[in-house]
């Protein structure tokens, strides 16, 4: 019922026990009389008081008879001083806004929630900043507060309480993966600075006088693994070298974010102690830092989107000093948007492998495999430091959860098993590699997607073999803190290393042959010439949408290269997601706040980027990913953006300026049919997905029978692998797809004939006729 019983699982770590800091909820409850006044206050009075206050200022009114809270009055801000009313419902013991379905066990929780998320409100509620500074000692003052004090602009509240306390506010970590906050201290920091500061409230920040140690702080979001801490340090190091450009970019990010949370000013980019990722300390010397900060001209928080917003009207000290206590709660989507790493100038790029938005252990570890030499040899110190951080990071890793070691253990064990003479798995891997290398080379044999599908299918059986090994079972059972999908993906990755790595070059050459033969490359090249002059608006993007500048584009190219170099399809998809992310950044860079860019703009932007990239290589990479990715990995975000990449490439390769816009439909569908079959063909072979009864699977079966010879071998294997499931499936289920298939068949007889699959994009001329007809309807 009550959604919000615990305050977001954040526990403030008391900085000094003598002055216990109250939770925001307690603080709110303490001054409930101020924001939820009783009798004399009515709607008119409240409106009069609220009108003209910054947006989000609010009061809750009680019913004069029952004393129950009935109305939430919120200032809409703006010049006309509008005040919005929201009725509060009270069902038994829960409170909710009448327009919303969320209910809360008490009023303070409701207020707290709506100060973080507006849900049905026009603006988030704004809670006066001074409330954060209330502690045990002065809490009795709270109850004496009046609505007028509550609403009064913060300038007038700079009383002694505020001044004294503010700098002392933020000392707890905001990482809330569990109820009790998880506290992470970077050991590097401890080594450098000792741990005195943990117990003594030192008056100076150790590094504050050294400009080269300026760091941007990046808060971890719950969705990031802890590894972010170390990565952050790494990023910070590289940032030291070229502060201004990077910061400039980042201000674009904060601007974009302010749309989401107009009342939480972007947390100032506070220079903090190295590795100050999680532990914040009050900074009392902030004033002394200001001059330097101003000289870099880059650390200014972006202006609030609503002028006069409570939080931002606060003093310089607050804006620039210790991290502004926005709230002890974290809202992942807000923060995530803000703290995305800013793109850096290409000249100073670390190899893409060191990109910091890949906040996972695997990316650090794995990508070292193909790390490129640094393009900037004149920054040796950065690298040395980065290495140091990595080592430290792995130490932290073992201390905290042991993720690294578990992963390593698994990878090593799989490697070992694959080399063990006479072992079942080793034999299977050996057989797979030999077979694969032989198969594709055979000029009469199958090529292209069919071949890759076979490879995928064999990979899946290899994985099953792996699962069957008691040693692996034991190892996996010992991993308790990872979700099943995460474990699946670990197993998959270690399998890629032993099985896919040796054959990936060969697979690429098969893809190349196949795509050359079907004319796809040719079409891509020639259409590229036709389309490359098109701006993003000519591609359909809306007017305000930004495109990557040359620097970002350069970075994207480097990522494409990294994506091409990776042998694991999973890894490739991760890199693809990073590219998409930076495209989003560019899109919103100059957009007015609040603008949302969905697929209407993303697809044109991605297409625009592709037109400036090596599409031929990207086509191969796309094929590789689509064919070889574990089908379960094709759901979700990765699946979406891979589909979009595929779609955009398809748009380019099939572009015919004179033909109707819908010309592609049939080929696209055909190709999709093929892909879809691929995606789902082996779903049911996976032991771990035994219960995944999707329409798709039946669909592929039907397709297999439709296309006849196409994949007898596969369907045979499939059936064998999967007998038990078949028994459980009802016949009706199996029949449904038939209907779908026949439906789909119309307009594309050619489709089912062409059992030469996927990598085939050239039947549009014939089919186009049908589509035209379709279009009339």
């Amino acid at each position: 019922m009550a959604v919000h019983s615990q305050v977001n699982g954040t526990t403030a770590i008391p900085w000094r026990s003598s002055r216990r800091k109250l939770s925001l909820l307690e603080q709110l409850k303490g001054c409930q009389e101020a924001w939820c006044p009783g009798a004399p206050w009515d709607r008119e009075g409240a409106h009069a008081a609220i009108s003209g206050t910054p947006a989000g200022s609010f009061l809750v009114l009680r019913d004069s008879v029952t004393s129950q809270p009935i109305l939430l009055c919120v200032s809409a801000g703006g010049e006309n001083g509008a005040v919005l009313d929201y009725n509060i419902g009270n069902k038994g013991t829960v409170f909710q806004l009448n327009d919303s379905r969320l209910s809360f066990s008490d009023l303070a929780q409701l207020v707290l929630f709506y100060s973080l998320t507006r849900d049905v409100l026009a603006v988030c509620l704004s809670i006066p900043r001074w409330i954060y500074s209330v502690t045990d000692k002065n809490k009795d003052r709270l109850s004496q507060l009046e609505p007028d004090t509550w609403l009064s602009p913060p300038e007038q509240q700079t009383d002694e309480m505020t001044n004294r306390e503010l700098s002392n506010v933020m000392c707890s970590i905001q990482l809330t993966s569990t109820n009790g906050a998880l506290c992470i201290i970077n050991p590097l920091y401890l080594r450098e600075h000792g741990d005195d500061w943990l117990t003594h409230r030192a008056s100076t920040t150790p590094c504050s006088t050294q400009p080269s140690n300026y760091r941007r702080e990046r808060r971890l979001s719950t969705t990031r693994t802890w590894a972010g801490a170390g990565l952050q340090s790494k990023r910070a190091i590289s940032l030291d070298q070229e502060p201004s450009a990077a910061f400039m970019e980042s201000s674009g990010l904060t601007r974009a974010r302010s749309a989401d949370s107009p009342h939480c000013p972007p947390a100032p980019s506070t220079p903090v102690a190295p590795a100050g990722v999680v532990l914040r300390r009050p900074s009392q010397d902030s004033a002394s830092r200001l001059p330097h900060r101003a000289s870099t001209g880059s650390l200014q928080p972006s202006p609030p989107s609503t002028p006069g917003s409570l939080n931002c009207a606060a003093s310089e000290l607050q804006c620039h000093g210790s991290p502004v206590p926005q709230s002890p709660h974290r809202v992942s989507w807000i923060e995530d948007g803000v703290w995305l790493p800013p793109p850096r100038p290409s000249s100073l790029l670390q190899p893409p492998s060191l990109e910091l938005d890949s906040l996972s252990i695997s990316s650090i570890e794995e990508e070292q495999d193909f790390q490129m030499p640094s393009p900037t040899p004149h920054h040796p110190s950065a690298h040395r430091l980065a290495d140091k951080v990595i080592h430290r990071l792995s130490a932290v890793g073992q201390a905290l959860g042991g993720l690294v070691s578990q992963k390593k253990r698994l990878t090593n064990r799989v490697q070992e098993l694959s080399e063990r003479r006479g072992g079942a798995f080793a034999e299977a891997v050996k057989g797979f590699v030999e077979m694969t290398l032989k198969r594709g080379a055979d000029p009469d044999g199958v090529t292209g997607s069919e071949f890759l599908q076979e490879v995928r299918s064999k990979l899946t059986s290899l994985r099953d073999t792996l699962w069957d090994l008691p040693e692996i079972q034991a190892l996996l059972d010992s991993i308790t803190d990872l979700s099943d999908p995460a474990i699946d993906s670990l197993v998959e990755l270690s399998l890629h290393k032993v099985a896919l790595k040796p054959v990936s070059a060969h697979l690429y050459s098969c893809i190349r042959t196949s795509r050359t033969n079907d004319g796809c490359f040719e079409r891509l090249r020639s259409n590229l010439r036709v389309l490359e002059q098109n701006g993003v608006e000519e591609l359909g993007g809306s007017a305000g949408v930004g495109i990557p500048d040359s620097v970002s584009l350069e970075r994207i190219q480097q990522r494409w290269t990294a994506m091409h170099d990776a042998y694991s399809p999973n890894k490739k998809v991760q890199i693809l997601l990073k590219v998409c992310k930076s495209i989003y950044h560019s899109m919103t860079a100059n957009a007015s706040s609040g603008t949302v860019f969905g697929a209407d703009d993303f697809l044109p932007c991605l297409t625009w980027v592709l037109l400036r990239s090596d599409v031929v290589t990207l086509q191969q990479d796309t094929d590789y990913m689509m064919e070889l990715l574990d089908p379960t990995q094709l759901q979700g975000e990765g699946g979406y953006y891979l589909t979009t990449l595929y779609a955009a490439l398809y748009y380019i390769s099939s572009f015919r300026p004179r033909l109707a816009a819908r010309q592609l439909s049939v080929e696209a569908q055909h190709s999709l049919n093929q892909w879809h079959r691929r995606r789902t063909l082996h779903c049911n072979q996976s032991r771990r997905s035994v219960h995944r009864r999707t329409i798709r699977r039946q669909m592929c079966r039907v397709q297999n029978s439709e296309t006849g010879t196409e994949s007898k071998e596969e369907s045979g294997r499939e059936n064998a692998a999967d007998q038990s499931q078949l028994q459980t499936e009802s016949s009706t289920e199996a029949l449904q797809p038939l209907r779908e298939e026949t439906g789909r068949g119309q307009g594309g007889e050619d489709q089912s004939q062409t059992s030469t699959p996927v990598l085939d994009c050239h039947q549009q001329e014939v089919i186009q006729e049908d589509r035209q007809e379709d279009r009339q309807t």
Partner: protein
């Protein structure tokens, strides 16, 4: 990696709930408010239970119905005519679709009808289709009558609501209505399905359950 907050807010054991995951595709002309609609839905919900995504073209959100958590993976499509042909790649395999039009632009309603037709012909046979007349806050500029769309929806067997991403009108309702219509037997959630080592109380999906049950 189990990414979202876990364990934090639960004091007791969680009731066993069914988790259903569905792919929902968004179709409709350019600029009818597809993304805004979904964003309204996703961000209006409890934040903690939202999956972090890199952009608005793909969003995921769970809603809770009685004992079932329905997780939507929402695939947005480009509405421009020139990209129409790519849509099958997106709606392929989708179990639900929202076809959006703008009540102030009759041509977008026509386009929506075309989408519905195409979906009914080519998408999964059991796909749940909802028609959303968006921008209902601009009632004074209305050019598509409610009755007209309503009648069309009834005739074609669609869910229909007029929505406003701006005021949030009917946004949650629309998704809830879709969630109610989804066949709950289809547990596609890999997390759920693949569990072979017993129940994992840390399962983030299980937590979403609590998140969205707040209503009632």
């Amino acid at each position: 990696m189990s990414s979202r907050g876990s364990g934090g807010r639960t004091n007791g054991t969680l009731p066993q709930t069914k988790i259903c995951q569905f792919k929902l595709v968004l179709l409709g002309d350019m600029a009818v408010g597809k993304s805004s609609l979904v964003l309204r839905f996703v961000k209006g919900q409890f934040d903690e239970f939202q999956e972090t995504t890199i952009g608005a073209a793909f969003l995921a959100q769970s809603v809770c119905l009685d004992d079932t958590t329905v997780k939507f993976e929402i695939w947005d499509t480009a509405g421009q005519e020139r990209y129409h042909s790519l849509a099958p790649m997106y709606y392929r395999g989708a179990q639900a679709a929202i076809v959006v039009f703008d009540i102030t632009k009759p041509e977008t309603f026509e386009r929506a009808k075309a989408w519905v037709k195409e979906l009914q012909r080519q998408a999964s046979p059991n796909i749940v289709i909802a028609l959303a007349g968006n921008k209902a806050d601009l009632a004074e500029k209305r050019l598509v009558e409610y009755e007209e769309a309503q009648t069309y929806a009834e005739d074609t067997g669609l869910l229909f609501m007029e929505t406003s991403a701006k005021t949030a009108m009917n946004v949650n309702e629309l998704f809830l209505a879709i969630a109610k219509k989804m066949p709950k037997t289809d547990t596609q959630n890999p997390t759920h399905a693949a569990r072979h080592r017993g129940v994992n109380l840390q399962d983030p999906d299980a937590h979403s359950t609590r998140a969205c049950c707040g209503g009632n």
